[in-house]
């Protein structure tokens, strides 16, 4: 990993998640009708942390699910490697719910497009809102996040790496040079 800068450190991440949780609850006027859906892999752990924070603020635990969008991707024919798929785990009814879709980095918007299709196949939610830890720009589709942890202007030759304790052993967000 060719690191250019550390953008968020461990304490920074705690603060960001706290703020995002407050914003989500504020915008939805409470937490009674919201459900959190984390997108594999890192969105899943972010969603879990946001859920814990919301439970703390609201004294109410919102439902939580995990979404795998591999089957809905648009790059099956162009990618060199066959993507690995894993299971979507959403055990509750999404009809009439306010869904908060949570991911680590928002970039081209294609993953979010796939996620929207995937959620629609599960039912007809009241709203779908997007929450991302980092928005790095360079959108290829008309998609915008409702809740953003940090906006980071990047060049196409850079990458944003979100590292979380659950799988990477540390909490941090780095700006790195893309591997050639």
């Amino acid at each position: 990993m060719d690191i250019k800068a550390k953008i968020i450190d461990e304490q920074g991440l705690v603060r960001t998640i706290t703020r995002l949780a407050h914003e989500i609850v504020e915008k939805n006027k409470g937490s009674k009708n919201i459900v959190l859906i984390g997108m594999r892999t890192r969105g899943e752990f972010l969603a879990e942390r946001i859920k814990a924070k919301i439970s703390e603020i609201e004294n109410f635990e919102p439902s939580f699910g995990i979404l795998d969008v591999t089957l809905y991707r648009d790059d099956f024919r162009t990618r060199l490697k066959q993507p690995e798929i894993s299971v979507t785990n959403i055990t509750f009814d999404v009809n009439e719910k306010d869904i908060i879709l949570i991911d680590d980095v928002l970039y081209t918007g294609r993953t979010v497009r796939a996620a929207l299709d995937a959620v629609m196949d599960l039912g007809r939610p009241n709203t779908i809102q997007l929450c991302v830890l980092v928005d790095r720009g360079h959108r290829e589709l008309p998609i915008k996040a409702d809740f953003v942890g940090k906006n980071i202007p990047t060049s196409i030759n850079e990458e944003v790496r979100v590292r979380l304790k659950e799988i990477d052993g540390e909490d941090a967000v780095y700006l790195v040079n893309a591997p050639k």
Binding site: L71, Q82, D121
Partner: protein, 306 residues
């Protein structure tokens, strides 16, 4: 991860990692089948031909559903309504179908080796849906999936295949797959239904159904195939049931933890008593549901390969 071959012709020689990948991928599709909208857009734009030269309900419907649920375009071909009746050769039929630009061919044929031959005359991915007395790989896979779903593993399990092993492609695919995954395989049936030299495949041969029930974790009970002339190898169906039929009394006496599989269609009162076929020890209908998930997994893994 992707499969090591672009075709699925049989389970013979298929590496453990490939079988593992197919079974794991099927778990994802099992979840899709529980959704209100049981369809994903993954194989949009792919064209699949189902080439069925032999009768089939379960397998054909299962493949067709799997294809539709992956959003592929499908064409069905069966001999009774085709130009084969007018004398067109198999090779010409396939060449013509391929000229219409198809991506995958699912084939069932009464002659062993037809799927293998197809790989030589067509560029499409070939999936064997049963060829003669050779193999029926997706059935083998769905059997293994159903066992793993219930018992949590395959390695170290004792599985006994009961019935007309000599005339069963399901038996061969099960033997190859289960051996690769580290299970111990036994076959149990009258000597007339066991091919000479089957021990060479690493399986044990027994002739006593009570012993089979007592010493195994799983029984995969095959159908007595009257259409394949099984009648000449046993004195009567009634006698077969008496000596080799799986009944509740036998299960309760020898092994209450046994898991019963059957590839269908069942001959009630022959290889299984009606009570067992509907009872708590069997997973026959789960096998059918899992079959769709397994076929989706195979189609997905082959269809999105580069």
């Amino acid at each position: 991860m992707s499969l090591s071959s672009k075709h699925l012709l049989g389970l013979y020689g298929v590496p453990k990692e490939d079988i593992q990948l197919i079974l794991d991928t099927a778990t994802t599709f099992r979840e899709v089948l529980e959704r209100p909208i049981k369809k994903v857009p993954t194989l949009q734009g792919k064209t699949i031909v189902n080439l069925f030269y032999e009768n089939s309900t379960r397998t054909r419907i299962s493949f067709e559903l799997a294809q539709k649920r992956l959003s592929a375009d499908t064409i069905n071909f069966s001999t009774s309504t085709s130009s084969t009746k007018k004398g067109e050769t198999f090779k010409d039929t396939v060449r013509n179908i391929e000229a219409m630009k198809v991506d995958m061919i699912v084939v069932r044929h009464q002659s062993a080796g037809v799927p293998q031959y197809l790989t030589k005359i067509s560029k499409a991915n070939i999936i064997n849906a049963g060829d003669g007395l050779h193999e029926h790989p997706t059935q083998g896979l769905l059997d293994m999936y159903s066992i793993r779903e219930r018992l949590g593993k395959l390695e170290g399990l004792k599985v006994c295949i009961v019935g007309d092993v000599a005339h069963s492609r399901v038996a061969l695919s099960n033997i190859f797959g289960l051996k690769t995954m580290g299970a111990q395989v036994t076959v149990c049936s009258p000597s007339t239904m066991i091919p000479i030299g089957i021990e060479a495949l690493g399986v044990k041969v027994i002739h006593n159904i009570n012993e089979a029930i007592a010493n195994n974790d799983v029984l995969n009970v095959l159908r007595i195939q009257l259409e394949r002339n099984a009648g000449v190898r046993i004195p009567s169906l009634r006698e077969y049931h008496q000596y080799f039929g799986v009944t509740t009394e036998r299960i309760e006496k020898f092994n209450r933890d046994i898991l019963i599989l059957h590839p269908g269609p069942i001959n009630r009162g022959v290889e299984l008593s009606s009570e067992v076929a509907d009872g708590p020890y069997q997973v026959i209908l789960d096998q059918v549901t899992n079959g769709v998930a397994i076929r989706m997994a195979v189609l997905y893994l082959l269809g999105t390969m580069h």
